[in-house]
């Protein structure tokens, strides 16, 4: 009896010692998922479901009026936007890449120079704020002000050209100058945030490196080229990737400055064409197919950027 009474607690205690961690683990997992549930629900409703819906639309015909009218048509939408006679690849996707590449290159170079200058100036906060102002200004105001600056008659830019004896340029109505004109404005608006991030990157470079280099007789250019630039690479990677993705999707400035992506599609970009196809032409299938092609383009460009910077020995940390 005594044996029995001593063995029973032993079995119970063994069950407890074996079962508790597993049960505790399960409980922890459940608790973790409960904590994650709001976020997962948010992603399911606002990311996964729209993504699946877009995928469905990309292989369907839908006018956007009634959900009951979605008709599957296979890959017809992809064939029509990538096929002969379509304007999606040329000029629309080409414009998108030129717009993104042009604005990112200009913004990156300008912000690199300006961030270096600001880093050597007094009142750095003031200068950073000054260059950041376009970011907090609405795109409608920015677009309209630049539109006035570009006016063929009475615009400041043409006034300056006229003052030095040059004829006026129809910046926004000439297909050869319309896209570059908007690229400049997009770059101008993007410089502020790039400066902010790059100055933070510059601050992270220890001053002692520069002092040592100076003692070794290195000039300003050598220090910039062999020290500043390599050590800024992770920051430059971050800025270029985020700005590229933003520019590839952006079209608000184009709507404000040229209204319809004209003249003759010269400023039409993929984001704007998608919007037009869906909301104006009632062709949601084509718009969704374009969205997936643009997604692939963004993915390829981002991977190419990562490869380029990693080749130089940088991680994305």
């Amino acid at each position: 009896m005594a044996t029995l009474t001593t063995r029973a607690p032993d079995r119970a205690s063994r069950r407890t010692t074996v079962g508790t961690p597993a049960r505790r683990g399960r409980r922890q997992t459940v608790t973790a998922y409960l904590f994650l549930a709001p976020t997962l629900l948010f992603f399911a409703v606002f990311l996964v479901l729209p993504l699946l819906f877009a995928l469905l639309l990309a292989v369907s015909k839908w006018s956007g009026f009634s959900l009951g009218q979605i008709t599957p048509i296979g890959f017809g939408n992809f064939a029509s936007i990538l096929g002969r006679g379509s304007t999606f690849l040329t000029p629309i996707l080409t414009n998108t890449l030129l717009f993104a590449f042009g604005s990112v290159v200009i913004a990156l170079l300008a912000s690199l120079v300006l961030a270096n200058c600001i880093n050597r100036l007094r009142f750095q906060g003031f200068w950073r704020t000054l260059y950041f102002l376009p970011i907090v200004t609405t795109v409608v105001a920015v677009g309209n002000i630049w539109k006035v600056l570009y006016e063929p008659t009475g615009g400041l830019v043409n006034g300056l050209l006229n003052a030095i004896g040059l004829p006026s340029v129809s910046f926004l109505t000439n297909p050869n100058t319309a896209l570059p004109s908007i690229v400049v404005v997009q770059a101008w608006t993007a410089v502020g945030s790039a400066i902010l991030i790059l100055t933070a990157g510059l601050k992270a470079i220890p001053e002692s490196y520069y002092e040592a280099a100076e003692l070794d007789g290195a000039g300003a250019w050598t220090m910039f080229w062999t020290m500043t630039l390599p050590m800024l690479r992770p920051t430059l990677l971050f800025v270029s990737i985020t700005q590229f993705i933003t520019a590839l999707q952006s079209f608000a400035l184009i709507i404000v400055m040229t209204g319809d992506g004209g003249p003759a599609d010269a400023t039409n970009v993929a984001g704007f064409e998608m919007y037009q196809q869906a909301f104006k032409y009632g062709d949601w299938g084509t718009a969704s197919a374009m969205a997936f092609v643009l997604f692939l383009v963004i993915l390829v460009i981002t991977l190419a950027q990562l490869w380029f910077f990693r080749r130089k020995g940088e991680e994305t940390s």
Partner: protein, 424 residues
């Protein structure tokens, strides 16, 4: 079955929007009045208060049906209809642009007009007005306004309107003024790329004056790759190359400022110009759009109509209101309520009887140009993909204007792209 399951998946995917329910509008429960909503582009004065006045009159005299107007800017109207329709929250009554009629008919957005109303409309409205509201022989609502195109000229800059293209070119060159830098200060003839209609509608008007057509009879193929179309684009490109016009100009500002000799626009502009020009309005003259030969003329007609949403739970009440608005007359009035309202804002009423009654004893030479054009204007084709076809034409015209494409190439590309859309 497969289609049904996909539709179900679609419903699930857009569950958030579908939660709004599928009724067109909130209706009164129990013994309350039926509440109707009317969505139109009448979002600003004078159109918005003009319509509101009529609706107030209806609401005062009809206790069982109450109407609320919802106005959005024209540029947002199509998007608004689309989004609200998909969410099951479309207005009971919609006033679409005739160009969208094909798209709306294909998607089953509007119900066909009841037989009696359709017969009444066909009997008493102008052909152009009926055409704007008709798709494949089915009439979808009451035409509310019809616009035709004419030549606006500034009498100070162009004393006599041209009657041929040669005269137009000559008058345009004479009226043009440039500053010492070569910038155009006064344009002899104004073409503008501000909106698709500014590009496409004058082109189609001139095309008719040259004896051309945009579509083959039957509407299954385009006829735009023609000698007539080439002559129109040659005329416009010639004026641009001669620097008597700059397509980048906002004609809505330049013409009222007295900086444009001639331009082509719709009749509704007559309602807006007096307020913009003040005393200078006396310089405004209108004339038929000339053709290449003396006596030839051309114009385009487009319109709007009010139809009843297929999603509406109160379709009978909606037709009752539309009939009151478009057929009925206020006490002592010479014309229908809609006709009187449209005439008051400078628009030609879609019922010729209204126009006759309202213009009796008065002489409005400017308005007469547009009223006369109703008889010969070519209607804007309201086929499926109409809006996209218009954009294709606009882009290719702009390509020719800016020298990106030669005139024959621009027209050939237009024909290919439009035929592709028509074949879908």
């Amino acid at each position: 079955m497969r289609r049904r399951s996909l539709a179900t998946l679609g419903f699930a995917a857009a569950g958030a929007t579908a939660l709004g329910g599928c009724g067109a509008s909130a209706s009164a429960r129990g013994s309350g009045p039926v509440r109707l909503t009317l969505l139109s582009h009448y979002a600003n004065a004078p159109l918005k208060p003009g319509l509101a006045k009529l609706i107030d009159e209806f609401n005062r005299t009809h206790r069982t049906v109450q109407v609320t107007a919802q106005g959005v800017n024209f540029d947002s109207l199509l998007e608004t209809v689309t989004v609200r329709q998909a969410a099951g929250r479309g207005a009971d009554i919609i006033q679409p642009y005739g160009l969208w009629a094909g798209q709306f008919a294909e998607a089953g957005v509007l119900v066909p007009a009841p037989k009696g109303i359709a017969e009444e409309i066909r009997a008493h409205y102008s052909k152009a007005a009926v055409g704007a509201a008709t798709v494949d022989g089915t009439l979808y609502g009451y035409p509310t306004e019809t616009q035709t195109y004419g030549l606006y000229y500034n009498k100070r800059l162009v004393p006599t309107p041209p009657s041929t293209w040669d005269e137009l070119e000559s008058a345009a060159r004479k009226a043009t003024k440039r500053d010492r830098h070569g910038n155009i200060v006064v344009q002899g003839f104004g073409v503008s790329k501000e909106q698709d209609s500014n590009v496409v509608h004058p082109f189609l008007s001139l095309l008719q004056s040259a004896g051309g057509h945009f579509l083959e009879p039957g509407g299954t193929h385009t006829a735009v790759d023609s000698a007539a179309a080439r002559s129109v684009l040659d005329l416009e490109c010639g004026l641009i190359r001669a620097r008597v016009t700059d397509p980048g100009t906002d004609m809505a500002k330049a013409y009222p400022s007295g900086l444009v000799g001639m331009t082509i626009n719709a009749g509704w502009w007559l309602g807006a110009l007096p307020a913009m020009m003040g005393g200078s309005y006396k310089d405004v003259g209108t004339a038929p759009i000339p053709g290449p030969r003396d006596g030839a003329r051309g114009s385009l007609a487009y319109g709007y109509f009010m139809g009843v949403n297929a999603q509406s739970r109160h379709q009978d009440a909606a037709w009752e209101f539309l009939t009151w608005l478009n057929r009925g007359k206020s006490r002592g009035a010479r014309a229908t309520r809609m006709g009187t309202f449209q005439y008051s804002v400078g628009t030609i009423p879609p019922r010729p009887a209204d126009t006759d009654a309202l213009t009796e004893g008065t002489k409005n030479a400017n308005l007469a140009t547009f009223a006369a054009a109703l008889e010969y204007a070519t209607p804007e084709p309201n086929i499926n993909h109409g809006q996209q076809i218009k954009a294709v034409l606009q882009k290719n015209i702009e390509a020719a204007w800016t020298g990106q494409a030669a005139v024959p190439d621009a027209l050939r590309t237009t024909a290919e792209q439009v035929d592709n859309l028509l074949a879908r």
